[in-house]
Symmetry: C2
């Protein structure tokens, strides 16, 4: 048995409270090296005549990657505390503990075992319940719909009359969203993620000037209130984008520093290296990337903190929004996010907090900071497999399994899964305009654990390269919309809502062979099992259904 491959870590994605009663325990071993694993477990204080009163429970192999197998079990300790270890059987039998390996189970002492000291309910990672069943839709407000020409920015072009550029405007606004709410209801989405709506100069509004004001090109606060109300009436949650890592260049507090230098009362709102403040040839202050237009905010400073926390509270308190998506979230301090969570959840306990992080994010997903992160690693493998055909079925399965093992299950259930956004080429373009591949990707996305997000226009077959190409005006001429695609995606969303196994309530399991050209997985909930089968080759493939179907009811979900 390869001891070097065996891994477990307490209080991590390997050992966590799934809810107030249940602990999840995972173990990693070398691939195909271990025949069975039993969890050795018991209450640390339960002894019988000098011997620890333990039990064992078989673990199940739930995932495999290129190098490793992953084992899992869940349990509900009577007294909410646990000592545990692992009994592994393969070419030998060993016991794995926090302090190393033993030839057999130790019962005279529990000090060497792993420890889950106490399941305190206030520490349980507990995202809002509604998120688990939400299907998101991302709107880039400048480009979704122009409902009110009166508030168009100067020089705005007629809708769809030109290709998008980094600087042009088409006048998209809140009234446009309200006007087209039926489109969203028909599609079936239940949450909208809006990229920034606060006062700013650019068309993307990531350069905030005033976090407490709506950009006038989108409408005013009354319109926004109406928008939230219309969404709520239609069963749609509303999430806004908070750019707290940096302000825009024209943020008055930063302008004050530029003007008054060391005399500015806002000088400590930013990280100024020396004076006078300069923007060229290199800014002498911390920025996002090296962009002098995006001065990094000092979120450790009490006044900045209070200002941004009030932003977080204000839009929930006054406008009843349901979520905050946090831009460049991992460059802001953990300490700020902990306070942010306390403050916003105090106003609305089931508000959703979503961090934009592209890397491994366990440090933010322990219950004290975010409810979820934008789960790029998850869909990346699917895009490589279905759209780009860069990786084999084998690698797709391994990478997907790796992404599923990366976080606790309660975090994975609300992970924000996306095929594209305003920051990436449109998924149809990534698929080289092959609609079948797009359909495969959406089927995978919408049947995956996590909460899926559809980027505006992807549902009607819009295409576009990397920004600015992916930010075209939404096509509202239904004769130019791909309605067949729209119906297909609407059907997937409906199935996800109607069938628990389809979406977040089903257990995901690959069942393909490593060498297949196709890929199959099942989703299971209680007595119901769904089989998903994808042919990722150009040829017709005949594959036997790997179940004994005798006496069972079988339904083709798409055709009935």
């Amino acid at each position: 048995m390869l001891k070097e491959a065996i891994f477990h870590s307490p209080k991590s994605n390997y050992a966590y409270a799934y809810n107030e009663k249940t602990l999840h325990i995972r173990l990693r071993t070398k691939k195909q090296d271990v025949a069975s694993v039993d969890l050795i477990h018991g209450d640390p204080y339960k002894w019988d005549g000098g011997s620890w009163n333990y039990e064992t429970k078989p673990m199940k192999k739930i995932a495999s990657t290129e190098l490793f197998d992953y084992w899992f079990t869940s349990l509900e300790p009577d007294f909410r505390r646990l000592r545990y270890g692992f009994h592994l059987t393969g070419d030998e039998t060993i016991v794995y503990t926090e302090k190393g390996f033993y030839p057999e189970i130790i019962t005279h002492d529990t000090a060497d075992y792993f420890c889950f000291p106490y399941l305190n309910s206030e520490d349980v990672f507990a995202p809002p319940a509604w998120v688990r069943d939400t299907v998101w839709y991302q709107i880039f407000p400048e480009r979704f719909a122009n409902g009110n020409k009166a508030n168009d920015p100067e020089g705005a072009l007629p809708w769809g009359s030109a290709e998008p550029t980094p600087t042009n405007f088409f006048g998209g606004d809140f009234e446009g969203v309200i006007e087209h709410i039926d489109h969203l209801v028909e599609l079936g989405i239940t949450g909208i993620y809006f990229t920034p709506i606060f006062k700013a100069t650019t068309n993307h509004k990531y350069d905030t000037i005033d976090y407490m004001e709506i950009d006038p090109q989108f409408g005013d606060k009354e319109t926004f209130k109406r928008l939230v109300q219309v969404c709520h009436e239609n069963g749609i949650k509303v999430m806004l984008d908070a750019v707290f890592n940096h302000s825009g260049f024209y943020f008055p507090q930063f302008q004050d520093v530029l003007e008054k230098g060391e005399q500015s009362k806002y000088k400590d709102w930013f990280y100024i290296w020396d004076y006078p403040v300069q923007t060229e040839p290199m800014p002498n202050y911390d920025t996002f990337a090296f962009t002098h237009m995006m001065p990094k905010l000092n979120t450790a400073h009490p006044a900045v903190r209070e200002y941004l926390l009030e932003v977080g509270r204000y839009w929930i308190r006054e406008f009843d929004i349901d979520g905050w998506r946090l831009d460049v979230a991992n460059e802001v301090g953990h300490d700020f996010w902990r306070e942010f969570r306390k403050e916003v959840k105090a106003i609305k306990p089931d508000v959703y907090i979503l961090g934009e992080i592209w890397h491994q994010s366990m440090a933010w997903l322990q219950g004290d900071q975010f409810d979820a992160v934008m789960n790029y690693p998850y869909s990346h493998a699917a895009i490589q497999y279905f759209a780009k055909e860069e990786i084999s079925t084998r690698d797709f399965m391994y990478k997907t399994a790796e992404a599923l093992m990366m976080y606790p299950e309660n975090a994975t259930e609300v992970a924000f899964n996306l095929l594209g956004s305003h920051d990436t080429p449109r998924i149809l373009t990534v698929c080289k305009d092959n609609k079948e591949k797009l359909k495969q990707l959406f089927t995978f996305l919408l049947s995956s654990p996590g909460t899926p997000c559809i980027y505006y226009g992807d549902e009607i077959g819009m295409n576009g390269e990397q920004d600015p190409g992916c930010r075209k005006c939404m096509e509202w001429d239904t004769t130019k919309q791909d309605r067949e695609l729209f119906d297909f995606i609407a059907t997937l969303i409906r199935l996800r809502k109607e069938i628990p196994a389809f979406g977040n309530h089903g257990t995901f399991q690959f069942i393909s062979d490593e060498n297949d050209k196709h890929v199959m997985y099942t989703k299971t909930f209680e007595n119901e099992t769904l089989l998903f089968a994808f042919n990722n080759s150009a040829e017709v493939v005949t594959v036997p259904i790997p179940f004994d179907l005798k006496g069972r009811k079988v339904t083709h979900l798409l055709t009935g």
Copy 2:
């Protein structure tokens, strides 16, 4: 190269901010499998014509355990952010990233590399500076010295007239400590850890009745104020013991619940399962272990929280104490400890927060909760090796290395290292009264990274079995004290203070061979290297000093 053994994890003991400028990066590989490792690193936003502008830096092998080698480097990223990976050379050359292995360094994209997004100073694990150079002394107040017979509890026995039992009293008190402050000053210790002093019924006082009152057998608040003052005047910090996981049975709030049941306004201060509340045959409420005398406190309840936080604040604010040692710290919620840290540090920013945890404690040592934990794993190996002769030199080195790699270096520097306490047999007894072994252990403890603690009386050769045996009255008859041992330990403490390399400022490195009967390590600080050599066998061993000493000044530290 064994890929299964290669391990790194972002934001952990493998990648952390050492201070406001410096990142530490560690990597684990299979033992003796990798010849060299280079860290591939760069700013994520620094590019040259489509290619990432990275650098490489050699990593140093700093520790080995039975299965693994550990590699280390530190660096100060210009812009406080880092993308990084590892270039490993052995029987093949591979690049290790967050997303897996590559045959060579990727430069067209940094998405797959590991990420340290931003070194925000407020997130840096920053224990109080004074702790690093502190030598602790643990006092069990009932048994240290009786300075005032007037406050003796009823039935108190004459000092040292009987063996300690779980229930007898000898009248130790604060005036006794004040009277004997010279003993502590002569020994050279610079911090006292007092086991509980609050109102309670037992001799150990872990059964708190009132967290806001001193137990009258120890003195009153005035005496305690004087004690802290005397300690401070003598350069000695004072740490108290906080038992926040559970109250004592006679805590009035719990008594109220016992009496009034569901009508008690304190019913949610505890975890009561059902009513009426019963203590027999099994308590129907959460307890520490299964002890009905120790009802677990509900630290998620706002009133309990406020009560305990005020305890935390009160003794600092009013009595100027310097540290809190937190009993059964890992069974209390993380959320409570985060608030506790904020509250007590707001009053005294350099107060020391020490958690009693016997297991792997990384989840509490990330800067938001504790400054340190009681580092049992570290000294355990030394006790097994020197005192019990249960493990080989090889295993001692491996286990010690493992303990040193378990936490970030800034956490290890203030880890609370102990050879024994009121909860374990006395170390001389563990050494089977072999004083030479005891001296070896103290030499190891006092030259180790971390802050050492001496249990009262160990310095004068007191012995005693597991509690209550280890809680004898301190021996004040100097003719019965082992003064030679006292002088030896005082010398070690003096060397630790005078020579930076001796204590927490030196870099620790084993230099022994696995098959040796003796063990040697060096401590290095700047130009100075100390060699520590221990013979752990009954025979005389002759070992060449493994350095070229030509032209170098050599001093024997103990004999001059």
